[in-house]
């Protein structure tokens, strides 16, 4: 028996975190059984598993999925974030609140982005996504207990076995059929052709080093927002000596305006999972996880079904395709919160802690899940891997416009004719993408665009010809970010829009570090009560330079960009 190693240099302490297996599955199990988390159950859990009460409190109070009160018959949740706000969410919310606010059977919740910006204003009834027009009918059905399920996800986190029992997420929302649409990043002409790259690797016909080389040659960058070169990341994690290693697909996009991964999960689960499995083989991991946001119930179903298929086909299991390699893939349903999209917060959550981002370095590549080397990419990044491996880096590079390489999925929402997901060549201009989506709603003039999700700076109508790519958008003072284009027509109060974004960040701040926890709140109060002033600029700087993670660092960026755009930056 060896003593556990001392804390690795540069790794922060586990303040308030208890070592040992995650309690999140146990809490899910109670909630599934009882419908909520009564105190006596929590006390009994603490005693039975010999873990402190504070730890349970920390989790239950942090993750919105956990209920500390019995559920009502219907939970109506409406999004108030930017894309929905642009489409009149405030008025609709006010009306619904009036209707249901005092209704004993209905729990009315106004909250953060549900990832359904294409049907804005988005809402869910008992966790089933519905359009706002359907909301009343869904609530009525829920009163008769004929709609949705409060139990939500069926607690499969960490459960390595049978996935067949889950019946969550509503009979009204059948899971989208995989590959209803064929996107250009799909190398497989028919269903029978899928997983060809994976099979080739498992058969020893294709080396994972070749795949990494192809990713590098193709210049594929992480599509989750930060844009770190994917091939380099794979290389780095592959080079780590420590085992075991893990691969995680980050399917937790939760930023207002961002829903492209949702579409990829729904239509290309086989590409996502193939990319994930290739990543596992490339870095030498046996365990892979899809960490999916709580609100993507229907898409989770698709992924789970696809994993089932992989198991049945023998591509995943103790001896994947007779290769002698063990490959296991599981789904971890997020207990909620935008911050979990931050990679180290996601890992903290999977370890059973409050989803608070870690101080970095070390990065997950060297010190990830359970302190082990972990490769984490987003849904879209993994989905692009098979086609690059199958058709080569040259093909991929050729897909881009001009000097730009490859393809990019965008979610387009806001004041636009046809909100939705578009896959376009990298380097497509903002104007071209806007046109593809039918232009500004009602043909109105454009006021501003947020090209890369809630964290990106606003750009004005004068910048419509900027090319959609990492460097080009950065040069234009914004960023490609999460690939979410939010369109704002003339007449939009841009500062109010930016403050709406700030509110999102304030609400989703984990509270770990001072600048983000306190600064985002103070800034929001100042902007809503006093308007921009000198202090906002100071706060923006302190948030940008001293916050632990990206959320805090960008929280005031959009506001500052609007102040610059509107020439009010001297005020702030």
């Amino acid at each position: 028996m060896a003593k556990a190693p001392a804390r690795a240099p540069g790794v922060e302490a586990r303040a308030g975190k208890f070592p040992g297996p995650s309690l999140i599955p146990a809490l899910n199990a109670i909630q599934e059984r009882v419908g909520w988390l009564p105190r006596e159950e929590l006390v009994a859990l603490s005693r039975d598993v010999r873990r402190p009460l504070y730890e349970i409190e920390g989790l239950v109070s942090f993750y919105p999925h956990f209920r500390t009160e019995p559920p009502r018959k219907a939970e109506l949740r409406v999004c108030h974030d930017l894309s929905c706000w642009l489409r009149g969410a405030d008025e609709r919310i006010a009306r619904l609140r009036q209707r249901y606010g005092t209704d004993a059977e209905v729990e009315f919740v106004e909250g953060s982005c549900l990832g359904r910006c294409d049907i804005a204003p988005a809402c869910t009834v008992n966790e089933v996504p519905v359009s706002l027009d359907e909301a009343d009918a869904a609530v009525a059905a829920a009163r008769d207990q004929a709609f949705g399920s409060h139990n939500g996800h069926s607690g499969h986190n960490g459960d390595n076995g049978d996935n067949s029992k889950n019946g969550h997420h509503g009979q009204h929302s059948p899971a989208p059929a995989a590959s209803a649409i064929t996107w250009p990043n799909d190398p497989y002409p028919s269903a029978g052709d899928r997983y060809a790259v994976l099979r080739a690797v498992l058969a020893g016909e294709l080396g994972t080093a070749d795949i990494i080389a192809a990713l590098k040659d193709a210049g594929l960058r992480g599509m989750g927002g930060a844009g770190f070169p994917a091939g380099r990341k794979w290389d780095l994690v592959a080079a780590q000596e420590a085992t075991p290693k893990y691969v995680i697909c980050n399917a937790d996009e939760s930023e207002p305006g961002t829903f492209k991964d949702r579409e990829i999960l729904a239509t290309q689960p086989y590409l996502v999972l193939e990319g994930l499995l290739l990543g596992m083989l490339a870095i030498g991991a046996e365990e892979g996880w899809v960490f999916i946001r709580h609100e993507y119930g229907p898409e989770e179903q698709v992924i789970r079904r696809e994993i089932e298929w992989l198991r049945a086909a023998g591509l995943v299991g103790p001896d994947a395709a007779g290769s002698g390699k063990r490959l296991s893939v599981e789904v971890f349903t997020s207990p909620g919160g935008y911050i979990l999209g931050e990679e180290s917060a996601l890992i903290e959550c999977m370890e059973g802690h409050r989803g608070e981002p870690r101080n970095k370095p070390p990065f997950p590549g060297t010190y990830g899940l359970h302190g082990q080397p972990t490769l984490m990419n987003s849904v879209e990044t993994f989905a692009h891997v098979p086609v690059i491996a199958a058709r080569g880096a040259h093909w991929w590079i050729a897909q881009g416009h001009g000097d730009h390489a490859g393809l990019k999925f965008f979610a387009v929402s806001g004041h636009v004719e046809r909100p939705g997901v578009y896959c376009v060549p990298m380097g497509t201009t903002v104007r071209e993408l806007l046109d593809l989506a039918g232009g500004v709603a009602g043909g109105r003039p454009l006021s501003a665009i947020q090209p890369g999700g809630a964290s990106s700076n606003f750009i004005g109508p004068g910048q419509l010809d900027v090319e959609l790519d990492f460097a080009a958008l950065q040069a234009a003072g914004s960023m490609l970010g999460s690939g979410a284009l939010v369109v704002m027509a003339e007449g939009t109060d841009l500062l109010a829009a930016a403050v709406n974004v700030l509110r999102f960040f304030r609400d989703e701040s984990c509270g770990k570090c001072v600048p983000c926890r306190v600064g985002s709140s103070k800034a929001h109060t100042i902007l809503t009560e006093r308007g921009p002033g000198e202090q906002v600029g100071e706060l923006a700087e302190v948030l940008r330079r001293t916050s632990i993670c990206g959320l805090g660092q960008v929280a005031l960026g959009p506001v500052m960009s609007v102040l610059r755009l509107t020439g009010r930056d001297h005020e702030g």
């Binding site: 028996m1 060896a2 003593k3 556990a4 190693p5 001392a6 804390r7 690795a8 240099p9 540069g10 790794v11 922060e12 302490a13 303040a15 308030g16 208890f18 070592p19 929590l42 006390v43 010999r50 402190p52 009460l53 504070y54 730890e55 349970i56 409190e57 920390g58 109070s61 942090f62 919160g337 409050r354 101080n359 370095p361 304030r506 609400d507 989703e508 701040s509 509270g511 770990k512 570090c513 001072v514 600048p515 926890r517 306190v518 600064g519 985002s520 709140s521 103070k522 109060t525 100042i526 009560e529 100071e538 706060l539 700087e541 302190v542 330079r545 001293t546 916050s547 632990i548 660092q553």
Partner: protein, 974 residues
């Protein structure tokens, strides 16, 4: 004690503020800067904890777009660090302003208005941040004043996680965490409960770590907490348990009182304290202190107990009610006496109003003359056998030494003992027999080096809280903890393997483990061959205890016994800690013999992380024993019945006719008194009435004494039987040395003056000695210490001058330079042949097994908040407020079967007595067992206990007797 980076010889070189700095690999920028003399401000960081990097005050520019938190960021080769650029400083100022905007105003800040060392306000001053930040102020999270000792101001909290880490990583109590999210995040206790209603054990480590006014000490006895600079800091040692934590009392000289206490760094305790040490010192300021010598009034004879409680009228035992006081008609308000049972509300201490009228005040001269005269008369009439003395493990080494010297040289008897008899006497007996020394073979802190630690018969989180924090911490760092105890108390929550054995089956358990260790070939054959004797006999005995048989006896599954054996046998270093659960049995010596054998056959003595550590109870039980306050030993365990020893001490003390035989032990003295043997007693700081088993017997014995002098700080139950009561000084009122469980000899320093005419104990002992014609001339404890050391080879080289602020471990070859010996017996044991003598033991059942009439097994012990007979702790505001009443702890299913709910009044009876007390339904008890703490005179557990003793250690079986429990509303006939 932060977990530090693995030892590395590598270094990195970086540039900090233009200076090239070389730092050890793994060092943080903050550490490297500090070493280079560059101060980087922090709020969340404290070197005692691992860093979290949440306050961001320590950010530095490392050339990246975002600044790095220097407290957590490791140094890298070639790194260019700027710690104080205008941008960095501006960020710190803004962060300070953000935090200040939600703080209570300075003039109302709970920290600034008390100790005046609010670290955030210091930063605000540094950055010129005033109360008016211009920022919107938060809505206010409110205050929580539910704890009797700690005030929580959530508004003043900056969420630095220092308290969280103090609670978890330092004390390992696991109570405080973050609750909520974002701006609404706040620290929370348990399930966000009020602190006073949570599982908080009030150790105060969170207060000690809080940089702001969020967690502050509440004043005790209305003594305001003033700025440190206005108070007098006295560095001394905690007066309670054997852990001997170093602390500092902050004394308000204007008010002549302690304002608050703080842990002080020392190699053993690392600045940690528990609730008793941090908040339980005000007993000395109790208005009930004895301040004048008292002599029993003529009309209060014949003697007997004076209060209803002590007379036993609370006991419900008719036979005892009638005892002693029947013809004592003028002794006090008759109604009160008669109504004793109902006239007095339950709880509290000796009723002074009822007892004091039986005594008259006297001068010291008169009282001391009387004591000397009466003891001399009894000695003259009855010889040495007629006199006995009980010293105290609460007194200093110097006092213990003088007391035994007085009894031995003044009355030529070895009838001198103290509460070690009720504590570790059996452990000491086994240790002497086995390894030739009664002291611990290694320190409790050595657990950090252990691969496996067995904690057994020890509710350490209650009885040795600070030591237990090191056990728990060791586990987090990889030590496997095996907890063996009939009660699943908190240590069980922190154990890798918990064995809930049936009470009184320890021998069978360890024989089973050793059986398996031997069977698996996991013994250390070389160690057995070269360093032990009698292994074959041991092996033969344990051969009869296969795990299945051990399971039958102990109730611990055979597979668990096998797991324990494997873990223990395979451990590179294994250590055993034990407490009264091992010693307080009629098989206590056998129990300890098994533990010695456990270590010896696996080579687990004499190397780091390995050994035997009986956790000593009282603050000076080790020292009092070392001083020879034991009937069978002269100082330093010199055998009392060895003629050579006798001659040596006769010479050293300049006396003749030392008693050539062993004296009587505590329990034997009580029995002797009953039979008219011992007739005169000197009781220094002991309260056998509550601490000894079978109180009804003690009551008779004390009543039977011809003369009893009690020297104490309060009117104890025992003092009711006294002829003379001498007002003593409390621990806080005198200088002296104390030896803790680790063998650490520490200086206790005078903090306060004694009240009234109360006097320092050693002077009183000397005055009596001189009235006996002994001609002593000690001027100071220092002088006594010097004489002590001259007759105690183990203490060689120690002196008042080299003990220093943190004391020294003995043996210590070089106290000027060394802290002393941690690991003993590295080469040989202290036995005559240098070998460990293995003594096999067969399992024997307890003396009084449960039956139909008395179906439960009673276990007695202590609570975290209370100390022994409660004379100190029940007069402490904080401790009494936290744990005010006696309770019997019963398993939920047993309670349900008995028809008892939590808080119901139960009647608990044994063949010796009956008490009534509230039920505490507790999942920590096993079915069929119950637990009663023995601190509470109004429901004295020792009315129930049995006075059967261990044949070797003479220790009573406090941990096992048969009782019946029933709802108290069902009245028993009579």
């Amino acid at each position: 004690m932060a977990i530090t980076a693995p030892e590395s010889t590598g270094t990195v070189t970086l540039t900090i503020d233009g200076r090239e700095v070389t730092a050890p690999e793994g060092a943080t920028i903050w550490q490297a800067a500090k070493a280079a003399g560059i101060d980087i401000p922090v709020l969340c960081h404290d070197e005692r904890f691992d860093p979290v990097g949440v306050c961001r005050m320590c950010v530095v520019d490392v050339g990246a777009p975002a600044f790095a938190a220097s407290c957590v960021r490791a140094c890298e080769n070639g790194m260019q660090v700027k710690t104080g650029t205008p941008e960095v400083e501006r960020s710190r100022a803004t962060l300070t302003r953000l935090l200040i905007s939600d703080q209570p105003p300075r003039e109302r800040d709970p920290k600034q208005t008390t100790t005046a060392d609010n670290e955030l306000l210091a930063l605000a001053d540094r950055y010129g941040v005033t109360g008016d930040t211009g920022l919107p102020c938060g809505s206010g999270r409110g205050v929580d004043l539910s704890s009797p000792v700690i005030a929580v101001d959530h508004d003043a909290c900056i969420l630095c996680d220092r308290c969280t880490r103090a609670c978890d990583d330092i004390q390992n109590n696991d109570v405080i965490g973050r609750s909520g999210k974002g701006y609404a995040t706040h620290i929370a206790f348990d399930l966000s409960d009020p602190m006073g209603a949570s599982s908080c054990v009030s150790c105060g480590e969170c207060v000690a770590s809080c940089p702001t006014g969020a967690l502050t000490n509440k004043p005790i006895r209305n003594i305001p907490i003033r700025p440190r600079t206005e108070l007098d800091a006295v560095d001394t040692v905690c007066p309670y348990c054997g852990v001997g934590c170093a602390l500092t009392y902050y004394v308000d000289r204007e008010r002549g009182a302690i304002a608050y206490a703080e842990g002080r760094d020392q190699p053993g305790s690392h600045s940690r304290l528990c609730v008793k040490g941090r908040y339980g010192w005000d007993y000395a300021a109790s208005p009930q202190r004895l301040t004048v010598p008292l002599i029993r009034r003529e009309d209060s004879y014949p003697k007997g107990a004076l209060s209803a409680d002590v007379r036993g009228e609370m006991s419900g035992d008719g036979e005892v009610n009638a005892h002693g006081m029947a013809d004592d008609a003028d002794a006090g308000p008759r109604e009160k006496r008669k109504g004793g049972k109902r006239g007095r509300k339950p709880g509290g201490l000796v009723d002074y109003a009822e007892v004091l009228p039986h005594f008259r005040e006297a001068t010291w001269e008169e009282a001391l003359d009387l004591v000397a005269r009466r003891l001399t008369e009894i000695y003259a009439a009855g010889g040495p056998a007629a006199i006995a003395g009980f010293g105290s493990a609460k007194c200093s080494n110097e006092e213990a030494y003088l007391f035994q010297k007085l009894i031995r040289t003044g009355f030529h008897t070895n009838n001198v003992d103290h509460c070690t008899r009720l504590c570790h006497a059996s452990s000491v007996a086994a240790l002497f027999e086995g390894i030739g020394s009664g002291a611990v073979s290694t320190t409790f802190g050595d657990v950090a080096n252990a691969e496996v630690a067995i904690v057994t018969g020890s509710n350490s989180t209650a009885n040795h809280p600070v030591a237990s924090s090191f056990f728990k911490q060791a586990r987090r760092n990889g030590t496997t903890i095996i907890y063996v105890d009939p009660r699943a108390d908190k240590m069980a929550d922190h154990a890798d393997i918990y064995c809930q054995l049936k009470p009184g089956t320890d021998v069978a358990f360890y024989n089973g483990v050793m059986h398996e260790v031997i069977r698996l070939g996991l013994t250390d054959a070389a160690f057995i061959a070269s360093r032990t004797s009698n292994y074959e006999a041991l092996a033969k005995t344990v051969a009869d205890y296969p795990p299945e048989r051990a399971e039958q006896i102990t109730g611990v599954p055979a597979d668990v016994i096998r797991r324990v054996a494997r873990a223990w046998g395979q451990a590179r270093a294994g250590i055993i800690f034990w407490g009264m659960g091992i010693s307080q049995h009629t098989t206590g010596t056998d129990n300890a013999r098994c533990l010695i054998a456990m270590c010896a056959i696996t080579g687990n003595v004499g190397k780091p992380g390995a050994g035997l550590h009986p956790l000593r109870g009282q603050n000076n039980v080790q020292g009092a024993s070392d001083m020879g306050l034991i009937p069978m030993f002269y100082p330093d365990y010199a055998k009392a019945d060895d003629p050579g020893v006798k001659a040596r001490f006769e010479q050293a003390w300049g006396t003749a006719d030392l008693d050539p035989k062993r004296g009587l032990t505590v329990t034997e003295i009580i029995s002797s008194a009953l039979k008219g043997g011992v007739r005169g007693m000197y009781m220094l700081g002991e309260n056998p009435f509550l601490s000894d088993p079978n109180i009804n017997k003690v009551r008779k014995a004390l009543s039977a004494l011809e003369f009893l002098v009690v020297q104490d700080i309060f009117l104890t139950e025992t003092a009711e039987f006294a002829d003379v009561i001498l007002p003593a000084s409390s621990y806080l009122e005198k200088d002296g040395t104390y030896t803790n469980t680790d063998r650490r000899v520490q200086l206790g320093r005078k903090v306060l003056d004694s009240p009234g005419q109360a006097r320092v104990d050693w002077e009183v002992v000397q005055d009596i000695a001189n009235r006996m014609g002994l001609g002593w001339h000690y001027e100071s404890p220092r002088e006594i210490f010097e004489e002590m050391v001259s007759v105690i080879p183990s203490y060689r080289n120690l002196s008042y001058d080299n003990l220093g602020l943190t004391g020294k471990l003995y043996p210590n070859p070089d106290p000027e330079r060394s802290d002393g010996t941690v690991v003993m017996f590295t080469e040989k044991f202290n036995t005559n042949d240098g070998l460990a003598h293995l003594v096999p033991a067969e399992w024997l059942p307890a003396k009084e097994l449960p039956d139909e009439q008395y179906p439960f097994v009673l276990n007695t012990g202590r609570l975290l908040e209370h100390w022994h007979t409660g004379s100190m702790t029940r007069r402490s505001y904080a401790l009494d407020a936290i744990a005010p009443k006696p309770q019997v702890f019963v398993h939920p299913d047993d309670a349900a079967q008995l028809g008892l709910a939590d808080g119901d009044l139960a009647r608990v009876s044994s063949r010796r007595g009956t008490i009534e007390l509230a039920v505490k339904v507790s999942h920590r008890e096993a079915r069929g067992n119950c637990f009663i703490p023995f601190h509470f005179r109004e429901a004295a557990a020792n009315l129930l206990t049995i006075d059967e003793i261990d044949p070797f250690g003479k220790i009573p079986e406090f941990k096992f007797c048969a009782v019946a429990i029933e709802p108290a509303s069902v009245r028993v006939d009579g």
